[in-house]
Symmetry: C2
Subunit: 436 residues, 2 copies
């Protein structure tokens, strides 16, 4: 039984996927049962590095989602439309979906999975998070026998590259961003990466797998890295930290069953396993009971890594089709619950105010005796206890003071901060960052 | 449909497994379909931390593998017998097997999987390698769409703990081993751990998954860590390395399809991701085309971590039983190839002589001019090119010289070494280690 594959999109990842499918020797034996039937492209004439028969190519994407010889549609278009419409049409036609598109799943996951469950087909998305790192299936299948307490990810390669470069070369954000754009590591419009939206899409997906409920994407609190300065990176280094853009999904209280979802630049202790994940590498740390901590790391992007994840999904569908004859009747009743999605409720999420975390804050103040005392008093009055207060130096005649707190409630910290900003001696608060 | 579980063994891992099964709330929903029917123990009277109904316990292990209410037998006895016999009997009775027993699989894998395929049941072993790290299923299912070139593991927690302690405290092997035994990190008879046998069992299993063929366990070349000295660790540090017991499975030439399988202490560059995996932690690095490198790391042992892996296997069997009605007819034809084992051939393995690697060697020689020249000449005559030759110091009136080679054939290195040992000036060669 040969399983027909239709590719929507033949860019870098699509080409990587085709290359694996066309060279099954030495790979998983189930790839021998797969045939690449159709690939949807913008132009038939463009020279391509992968040798596909000309009759395999089409510019009509609808032709692919309606082709009776295609059993698995691989959506590699990215973005919301026409991806959503094509996925829904393919599902309506009884085709399984493999996608690398975190945006469409984070935004339209409910609609897509409801349709898929009704039609009795799978929608798999290993490539949507963490590139070539196997994380979706381990989280959904193996690790979730634990009571997951927290998932922490470095899941945006562009920002990790930028922060790594800033750290290693003591360079500022704008310079490194420009270099990254030149090298192709950042897009011309870098918004989705540097403002944290891409990481927020991905942590929404990971949270829904780890904690077993749908996530409203807008519930993910999100701060990007535009305001991270070379100065903060340098102070962080002196204090024993590196700065990483972390995406965190947490269930602070198991009984309450409400989630804290957030993306923000974070001071990570240099001894922490995530601290050494540099450049375009990604890593996902999963914490659970009774497991403890497991970390999965690897290339978070790139044609080969992402294609590896796409094809692993194809193999999973083929494995099920191979063994499960009932599925092919499309009764819709026998989807393997380890591969299907059966979430029926939305998870409750907690506002950022209720977060309990450590903070790092940098203040510029008049260089007067008593300022540190005033800061300490203000924080203390709002139940913010401090781990350290250090006058780092002088800048433009102002004393530069760095404060690191113990674990405190974000609401308390913000109240203290508002009061501190009203103090006459305080000239500026150039940065506030959370600490892992 | 409730699925009955029978546990063979209720030691640390068995107790951890029972604790997960008895507290399904907040874990994978499929655990709601699982009932712990029987647990086989040595003594019914022993006080236990987990609350099992008394009629659940039995001292008769045969009763469990023959119980019609048990669909999945979880074997946590360890060792070769009676584990092998009980597993085979359970299979003959149509029960699926979940095991944490690397020794029985490494040794009797062919017999067990042949019987399982005939009976149409699964034998899953996520807990056999890497404790709580999801590695078996990712390697078998997702990563193997790549052409895997190499798997490198730190997969024995005891030896990693010992080497870490030796490194951090500049202590020698015997002292640290004794401490580790006191702390329960090493067994009274530490042979299987410190001589590399446990790591060899595990790399045989990983290699069979990564490269798709059965492995003859005796083909794994094996050196333990008894001869690693505090002196070598200290020299390694100076040269920019740490010493780790690595288990490596490699296919040096894709077309030749022959494997190099080995376990030995290895100098790992401090910048390498495996260098920071310390204490009882495990890590497995998988390299493939087009993926690149992925690393999976976490707790390699302990009740909770290992129980997490055991229960993840249970959930996988339940998922299949849930969706695949044909399986329950035991036709033996519809095992999901992603969970079953379909290897029919033994992989060819290469002798250690053909290995191409870097070496580190330490020599004690008379403190005479010309010795370094003689060493260099001898190595050169055997096509062993050197990266560095450093006289580290003097010891007992002898010059202590450390040599690091480029990548060379092991056979050439050994020939050169035999000649060097015949040189009058050379008094001793206290250590020879390979370099990653």
């Amino acid at each position: 039984m040969a399983i027909g594959i239709g590719l929507l999109g033949l860019g870098t990842v699509g080409t990587g996927t085709a290359e694996i499918l066309l060279t099954p020797h030495g790979r998983h034996p189930l790839l021998g049962e797969v045939v690449l039937k159709k690939a949807g492209v913008r132009s038939l004439d463009k020279p391509r590095s992968v040798g596909l028969p000309q009759d395999c190519l089409t510019t009509d994407l609808n032709e692919i989602v309606n082709d009776p010889d295609v059993q698995i549609v691989v959506e590699l278009l990215g973005g919301l439309e026409p991806a959503r419409t094509l996925i829904l049409e393919a599902i309506a036609n009884g085709k399984h979906i493999v996608t690398a598109n975190k945006a469409v799943i984070a935004k339209f996951g409910e609609e897509i999975y409801t349709a898929a469950n009704k039609a009795g087909v799978y929608v798999l998305l290993e490539a949507a998070v963490g590139g070539g790192i196997p994380v979706i299936k381990p989280l959904k299948q193996s690790l979730s026998v634990n009571r997951i307490t927290r998932v922490i990810g470095i899941i945006n390669g562009t920002t990790n590259y930028i922060l790594t470069q800033m750290t290693q070369n003591n360079a500022d954000f704008d310079t490194v961003l420009k270099d990254a754009q030149g090298l192709g590591y950042a897009e011309a419009d870098p918004t989705a990466d540097v403002d944290g939206g891409d990481a927020a899409d991905k942590i929404a997906i990971l949270a829904s797998l780890a904690f077993g409920g749908r996530i409203n994407r807008d519930d993910v609190y999100c701060e990007g890295i535009r305001d991270v300065s070379a100065a903060d990176i340098s102070f962080a280094t002196k204090l024993g930290f590196v700065i990483k853009l972390l995406a965190i999904a947490e269930r602070p209280d198991f009984e309450a069953d409400a989630l804290q979802l957030r993306v923000h630049p974070t001071l990570v202790p240099t001894s922490h396993p995530l601290a050494t994940v540099n450049g375009v590498f990604n890593a996902i740390l999963v914490e659970g009971e009774p497991l403890g901590q497991v970390m999965l790391s690897g290339p978070g992007a790139g044609a080969g890594a992402t294609a590896s994840a796409v094809v692993s999904d194809i193999v999973h569908v083929v494995g099920v089709l191979h063994s499960d004859h009932t599925l092919q009747d499309q009764t819709g009743k026998s989807l393997n619950p380890l591969l299907g999605c059966s979430h029926e409720h939305y998870s409750t999420t907690l506002p950022i105010d209720t977060l309990k975390t450590r903070f790092y804050a940098r203040f510029l103040s008049q260089d007067l005796p008593g300022v540190i005392g005033d800061l300490g008093t203000c924080f203390g009055q709002h139940q913010v206890s401090l781990e350290s207060v250090v006058q780092i130096g002088l800048k433009d005649d102002c004393a530069e003071i760095v404060v690191v707190t113990h674990d405190v409630y974000e609401a308390n910290f913000r109240e203290a901060l508002a009061e501190i900003q009203g103090l006459e001696a305080i000239k500026d608060v150039p940065s506030i960052l959370r600490v892992l």
